[in-house]
Subunit: 235 residues, 2 copies
Amino acid sequence: MNQTPWQPISPAKPVRASREPLTRERIVDAALRLLVEQGYEAVSMRKVAQALGTGPASLYAHVANKKELDQLMLDRAAAEMDLPDVDPEQWQEQLKAAMREILRVMRAYPGLARAAIGQVPLGEHALLTTERMLAILKAGGVPDQAAAWAVDLIPLFITATAFEESVQGAAGVAPEDLDVFVDQLRSYFGSLDPARFPLTIALAAAMTTGASGDDRFEFGAQVIVAGLASMVPRD
Amino acid sequence: MNQTPWQPISPAKPVRASREPLTRERIVDAALRLLVEQGYEAVSMRKVAQALGTGPASLYAHVANKKELDQLMLDRAAAEMDLPDVDPEQWQEQLKAAMREILRVMRAYPGLARAAIGQVPLGEHALLTTERMLAILKAGGVPDQAAAWAVDLIPLFITATAFEESVQGAAGVAPEDLDVFVDQLRSYFGSLDPARFPLTIALAAAMTTGASGDDRFEFGAQVIVAGLASMVPRD
DNA sequence: GTTCGTCAACGAACAGTGTTCGAAAGTACG
DNA sequence: CGTACTTTCGAACACTGTTCGTTGACGAAC
């Protein structure tokens, strides 16, 4: 009755939203997938949203900001850490094993270490990791204050190591190019002025050893563990 | 003769360029000034250019990219480091003094540590720093391979420390708020489930001690130095 | 079934980043 | 003066994180 002959032609409305509602968990899943595939720098709100079939603004209903997304990813990573049981006779080796495990997980998420730096690890899983390290240290007789500070120092070392690796990985150094780089570095050291850099020249080979593999990390772990052991009172 | 009555009104041409030609050195100066005043994140090509009275594109005639500018700033910082002379009887204290000096300079340039991570320090000044550390380590009888790797480990620790501090500083934690934060952290630790986090609870006070000042850094330095000392053969 | 309130989803826009490209201006040399 | 080269510059690109206002979906109450 009220129909006019010029009904407006309304454009087809795009279907709204993806079929599955967004959740924080889905967002973290998508972000971690992106991180594993393309590295940390590739994890932008836009890319995460795109992977979920939505727009970046939609994410903000579930995570406060990018920083919070980072922390959620970190806690997810920490959930994968499986630290060794405590054995007082083996505390030093166990501490090293714990360090290796933390590094293993960090390596699985290239660049995520960047998000860990400067943050007090308060996620549930991170706290469980801290608790286990404390247990190992106390089992070894490390004094309270040293143990308390060691659970800062150790993650600092591991995080920095993981972060450094990720920076180098992101710079696109292929494994086969590493030997070339090492050779160039040795040549460079060898070309320095012997009057000013005698030790650098003398130790060039040693300094360029262990560029691949875990030798450097294991060395650092040994230094830290031995340093902590030196703080254990003698009975 | 050829003058028409409708002379175009041409807008006044802006004076071109700053009076003083751009140089790489001026660019690094401006960048470091910005960094000291506003922190590393504030050092954008636009801001640097603006401080020099030009546009960001002009900078690229002198520095390849932002990353190169970062490295130039780093080498400038390294030039300020004044490491102690070598005394074999005091090598451990000297190594710690060297570490303090490196940290001091890093602190003077908040956030610059980020640029150091993952880079092999090949600038002239950085190499002189490495050489001095090697001298200290060798004077102390540290084996070659350990010394060679120590000159990676030590800067890694210091750089990570400086970087962590700068992240916390950039988050805007005022000195007077630090006590509040520490109290909140203790309360948080105290509120954890004692069945799952007995040591975290027991050591909460110790873990939140030393949030300001250098206690944590000094602890880390002592651990590393003691660890290295454990590698010195006994005669 | 209808209405209302709440919340999630969304697009547009903002303010910012590093960088490139082509044009214009400056400088040195023949 | 003309030419070649270099520096400077504006516009634009492709991207970042985030906000704001609107729309749509959903559940509860009537």
